[in-house]
Amino acid sequence: MTFKSKIVPLGDSALLVQVGDEIDITTNQRVHALAALINVSPPVGVIETVPAYGTLLVHYDSLLLSFGQIKNYLHEKMAQAQDNVFRKGKQLEVPVKYGGEYGVDLEAVARHCQLQMEDVIRIHSEKIYTVFMMGFTPGFPYMGKLDDAIIMPRLEIPRTRVPAGTVAIAGSQTGIYPIDSPGGWQLIGWTALQLFSPESESPFLFSPGDEVKFIVEK
């Protein structure tokens, strides 16, 4: 089954393939399938692709490819991209210390969701999440979807510093801050895993499309 998508320019050297506009696993898998198909043997002039929830951004060199040329190429690839070519990413377990100094917003989340803190921890760590996309800072995985019971909006005023390793939630998403950075998500835990080591041969713990399970660490 091929899927319908729209190709729109983002300036003169990038374009967006718009597959869907919601946070949805099937849509996202189509984005990753298309990205994988392109990345196997990118044509000269295609610089790199950035998968997001419902879009694939393609950066290209406009000195080598016109918008028309890259559009034709992508239409070809979209015709080939079938849902079943979606290659599952790696599966990872992430040990998390929840609450207290490790997750300063856990109590507020429990209150907002009218749950006990233990329930929030259980619900958050029960599910297997997909890394829909990466962005914000190097190595930050946007994962989902959260169980409806623990959905809470982001902070009104972002914190100026969230420590590296902090596990957080916002809306139907969960993520982990790879480096100390500002952040507006609700902080519920912390992992000792290193998500980003720039000098290492494999600098990133996660890749877009990976599957992640949180393990409660006492």
């Binding site: 729109v8 983002l10 003169d12 050297s13 946070i23 406009s62 996309m133 190097p138 600098p203």
Partner: protein, 317 residues
């Protein structure tokens, strides 16, 4: 060969053509703010166009040559003096061991590029020598240059006398001005804005805010109004994209911009006009935006970049 940093009252970072291939992991490209001046500086120094150079901005900066070398300088917003003489930008120079190279800030631009023959040599991170200040990697220990730093450069690839005393023809440079008309490609989220806002965006005057940095240029001027939603689910972003957060003040994404974003993008600045925009001075520049097409934008970019190859001539010193 090497250059010593004597005094820094501005922002000096090491930049090459930027980090490629890591955007899907959230790593910004970084690289030069004014890509044209950056490439011109490299060509003047006899380098390939993506060698690392020193990007200079925001204030006065002084270097000293620790060996005889050939340097080149391109960009705007600076006066240049070497040893006891004042020189022009967009030229290459033979510099003697011990001579100082001074960059004095002027108010007609923002960024200058100091290239050395052989290129600045540092340990690349994720395939690039570009400094990403927020991520604290790349360049020299992931930070801006400080006095006392010694920046190593490669060896001369050509006979140095042939490389020095050349200049980049003025006609082939971008049309730098503080009151530019910047061409943009509208979208992809124009439907997030009211018709009046789109009209305002394309007809009123904007200036760059003082709170701008290598990540983004905040624009000051008539605020834009969203129809209803002020955010979308995050999607990929690119250099030149103009995001409009809920306060209605547009932000143009620059070299260190994040790879993804969730604010609606009203338009994207075309590649050929990015150097001109990058050199716009806060609170001084008066910028207007004009709609163009992708085909026209790509043609303009090809014409501009075509001029890079054959615009270096012997200087008339």
């Amino acid at each position: 060969m090497s250059l010593e940093v004597i005094e820094v009252n501005g922002l000096a970072t090491i930049q090459d053509s930027g980090r490629k291939g890591w955007k899907r992991f959230g790593v910004p490209a970084s690289g030069p703010m004014d890509d044209f001046a950056f490439q011109a500086a490299n060509m003047l120094a006899g380098n390939s166009e993506n060698e690392a150079v020193i990007e200079i901005g925001l204030g006065d900066i002084t270097f000293r040559a620790l060996q005889d070398c050939v340097i080149s300088v391109a960009g705007t917003g600076y006066g240049l003096s070497i040893y006891v003489w004042d020189f022009s930008l967009w030229s290459s120079y033979y510099v003697r061991n011990g001579w100082t190279i001074r960059f004095n800030k002027t108010d007609d631009g923002m960024w200058a590029y100091l290239a050395a023959s052989g290129g600045v040599q540092t340990q690349p991170t994720l395939g690039s020598r570009s400094t990403y200040l927020r991520g604290r990697f790349g360049g020299l220990a992931g930070r801006q240059l400080q006095s006392g730093d010694v920046v190593s450069t490669g060896c001369l690839a050509h006979s140095s006398y042939e490389i020095a005393a050349r200049t980049f023809r003025e006609k082939a440079r971008p049309a730098y001005t503080q009151s530019p008309t910047i061409d943009v490609i509208m979208g992809p989220q124009t439907k997030y804005f009211t018709n009046e806002s789109i009209e305002t965006f394309l007809s009123s005057e904007y200036s760059v805010s003082l709170t701008s940095d290598r990540m983004g240029y905040r624009l000051e001027g008539s605020p834009l109004t969203h129809r209803s939603k002020t955010e979308l689910i995050s999607e990929g972003m690119t250099l030149g994209a103009i995001q409009v957060p809920s306060n209605g003040q547009p932000i143009v994404m620059m070299a260190d911009c994040p790879t993804t974003g969730g604010y609606p993008k009203i338009a994207t600045v075309i590649s050929a006009d990015l150097p001109v925009l990058a050199q716009c001075v806060p609170n001084k520049s008066r910028i207007r935006f004009r709609e163009t097409t992708v085909a026209k934008a790509q043609k303009k970019y090809r014409a501009l970049m075509g001029g890079l190859r054959n615009s270096i001539v012997e200087a008339d010193l």
